[in-house]
């Protein structure tokens, strides 16, 4: 029901505006706080007029937390997770929707179950696996007595080890394995008309050709959406990077923000902390703005 009366129009705009203020206010306060000097930022109440130390604070935050390399790490991780996720999800959904094979439903439900087991729930086993990727195989060898056999016969002690701690691979891989993207693609693939699949078969395209030439181009809006969401999600990850990067060289920007937050009894440099937050917030913002243009383009050229 669409009503058009001046009073309602005014009211809806007031509500919209209130919502806007509600959402933007915290950011405004962060920006203002980041522009104050140490004394002004600790005034109660804090002055809502911007100070003049914005660039100095930004610079201090940048050097103190060593944000350059950390932002780079964050970027690698987020881009890796987004790309990996887009590819893996497309492939799994393709398999589930377009192929009939024994165990298909089992695999579907296994993928589904991962929805209920987010990284936080399985963080200990995941850490163990990442610390030594080959440990499950070692366990199998040990339990079956194979390693004992090999040692008896060849005299070589079997000890498999491949650690991924403090590596980009270790940062990225465990974050890729979740089900949300698979379902997004599955729903989309189900809406692709069967005749299109059949036309491709008649044209001689095999499964892989069909996937690359037809399905992927059709789902580029999906990919943009999923990629954006996953980039943001990965960028905001805190627990996992904190856990597996014992070495500073692989720490991410979000975990390093902690360096800027004043300790109890330390100097309350909230202006620096706020400036650092602004910097870390910026890349995801850019990604959203860029990808939004994609969405819009996808919406204009509505297909099917």
């Amino acid at each position: 029901m669409v009503e058009r009366t001046p009073i309602l129009n005014f009211l809806t705009h007031v509500i919209l505006f209130l919502g806007f203020v509600f959402c933007v206010a915290p950011f405004v306060i962060v920006v203002i706080a980041a522009s104050h000097n140490l004394k002004d930022v600790n005034d109660v109440p804090m002055s809502l007029l911007p100070g003049s130390d914005f660039w100095i604070n930004i610079k201090t935050a940048w050097t103190t937390a060593d944000l350059g390399p950390k932002l780079f790490n964050s970027f690698i991780m987020s881009a890796g997770v987004a790309a990996g996720k887009v590819i893996i999800s497309a492939l799994t959904a393709f398999s589930i929707v377009y192929f009939r094979y024994p165990g298909r439903m089992l695999i579907f439900w296994l993928v589904f179950i991962t929805l209920m087991l987010p990284l936080e729930v399985r963080i200990v086993p995941t850490y163990a696996v990442v610390a030594n990727v080959l440990s499950p195989y070692q366990t199998i060898l040990d339990l079956t007595g194979l390693s004992w056999l090999i040692e008896k016969i060849s005299g070589v002690q079997v000890s498999l080890s491949l650690g991924l701690l403090n590596s980009y691979t270790g940062l990225i891989l465990p974050l890729i394995a979740t089900a949300t993207g698979t379902f997004l693609y599955r729903q989309f693939f189900l809406t692709v008309p069967d005749e299109l699949t059949e036309a491709a078969r008649m044209d001689g395209a095999g499964a892989v050709r069909f996937f690359i030439d037809i399905l992927l181009p059709l789902s580029r809006n999906n990919m943009a959406a999923l990629g954006t969401i996953m980039f943001l999600w990965a960028w905001n990850q805190y627990l996992w990077p904190l856990l597996i990067t014992t070495d500073q060289s692989h720490a991410t920007a979000v975990t390093e923000l902690k360096q800027l937050i004043p300790n109890v009894g330390g100097i309350p440099e909230w202006n620096i902390a706020m400036a650092g937050t602004l910097i870390v917030m910026l890349p995801p913002l850019v990604v959203v703005v860029l990808m939004q243009r994609w969405f819009v383009r996808g919406l204009i050229a509505t297909e099917k």
Partner: protein, 366 residues
């Protein structure tokens, strides 16, 4: 150019059998139309020829090679789909040329062949457009171009005209016909529209309930329907059917209220038959004319070139097609007259044609 041989082909889904032992021979270069109501298995049969549906039993051979286990691309068939099934993200040229691209044909040759096909179908101006920006008829032509470019042995059409408006349908119909004359490729065309079927077909295959009811030229199907189903399905308005019984002096119709003095040679007295007569074979005469059946007019449908008069024959609906300028008022009485040669007899039990009447009519000696 290829012949298609279909032997005892059936198709079942789980426990449901939808096509029951179809046998059909399609000769090289022939245009065959499969006609039937929805759900009669005609599309399934076509898709089995194409390789999109697995064949549950029997064999399909193209050019003597059994293709049951071959992938669609290995069968040399091209198909035009009902909803065109154009790739929405590709331009017209890319759509038409996709099969060549898959086959690894070099770009130069591909462009040249796309151009050639586009010229035949008058699509040259549209090659850079996306399917979204095309009208229904243009999309249909692109779909045909996509099938043509592969120079396939067999063209398969799955109700390709049913999404077009009436005028465009007529136009595309003649274009398909012309195209076939030009390419002379074996074509199988599935439709539920009998006008489409009659106008396009070299040979018509009428299917019902997963079985082939009759195979023949459009003329044969129209004038000698092999079963009651074919008789009522082909022709518009549908053939009139009256239940009757063979009696001593001819036929007793509608439970005995009417009698026809027709020769009953060969049929034993008491045989229950369905008597069919086409609306266009009936003449309207003044009520009470000797030898005519009297009826009451229900409704008159004006067609411009002619009229369909629906009459009531003791509760049975009966239609008469006439090109004469008669406008009987609803409720008025009319007489119906027809000649014995226009009557079709079908068994009441099996529905199959009983030809004894005509066959046994003695040819007058000269």
């Amino acid at each position: 150019m290829a012949s298609i041989t279909i032997r005892d082909v059936y198709k079942s889904y789980a426990k449901m059998q939808v096509v029951h032992g179809v046998n059909l021979d399609i000769t090289s270069g022939e245009f065959v139309v499969i006609l039937g109501p929805s759900g009669c298995g005609k599309s399934t049969l076509l898709r089995m020829i194409a390789g999109l549906e697995e064949i549950s039993g029997g064999t399909i051979a193209i050019d003597g090679t059994v293709v049951n286990k071959l992938e669609p691309r290995e069968r040399g068939c091209a198909m035009v789909f009902q909803n065109y099934a154009l790739y929405p993200h590709m331009s017209v040229a890319q759509n038409i040329g996709y099969s060549l691209k898959v086959a690894g044909v070099p770009t130069a040759e591909r462009t040249q062949r796309i151009q050639a096909v586009a010229r035949i179908l008058e699509l040259e101006q549209l090659l850079d457009r996306k399917p979204m920006a095309l009208s229904g008829g243009q999309r249909q032509r692109v779909a045909m171009g996509r099938a043509m470019i592969r120079e396939p042995k067999v063209f398969l059409f799955d109700e390709p005209l049913s999404n077009l408006d009436a005028k465009l349908r007529v136009q595309m119909r003649s274009e398909i016909r012309k195209l076939h004359r030009r390419l002379n490729a074996t074509s199988v065309f599935v439709t539920h529209d009998q006008v489409e079927a009659m106008t396009l077909a070299d040979r018509l295959v009428v299917m019902n309930g997963g079985r082939v009811e009759q195979v023949g030229t459009p003329g044969e199907i129209y004038s000698l329907p092999a079963s009651r189903f074919v008789a009522t399905f082909v022709g518009a308005p549908a053939m009139n059917m009256l239940e009757g019984k063979v009696v001593l002096d001819g036929l007793s119709l509608l439970g005995g209220s009417r009698r026809l003095a027709v020769s009953r040679a060969g049929l034993p007295v008491g045989t229950k038959v369905a008597v069919g007569i086409r609306p266009e074979a009936v003449r309207l005469v003044a009520p009470g004319t000797p030898g005519a059946l009297n009826a009451t007019v229900d409704l008159v449908e004006e067609l411009g070139a002619g009229r369909v008069v629906y009459v009531d024959l003791d509760g049975a609906a009966f239609s008469v097609m006439t090109s004469e300028a008669v406008h009987p008022a609803p409720g008025s009485a009319v007489g119906l007259q027809f000649s014995e040669a226009d009557l079709h007899f079908f068994s009441s039990e099996t529905g199959s044609r009983l030809d004894v009447f005509k066959a046994s009519v003695p040819v007058p000696a000269l």
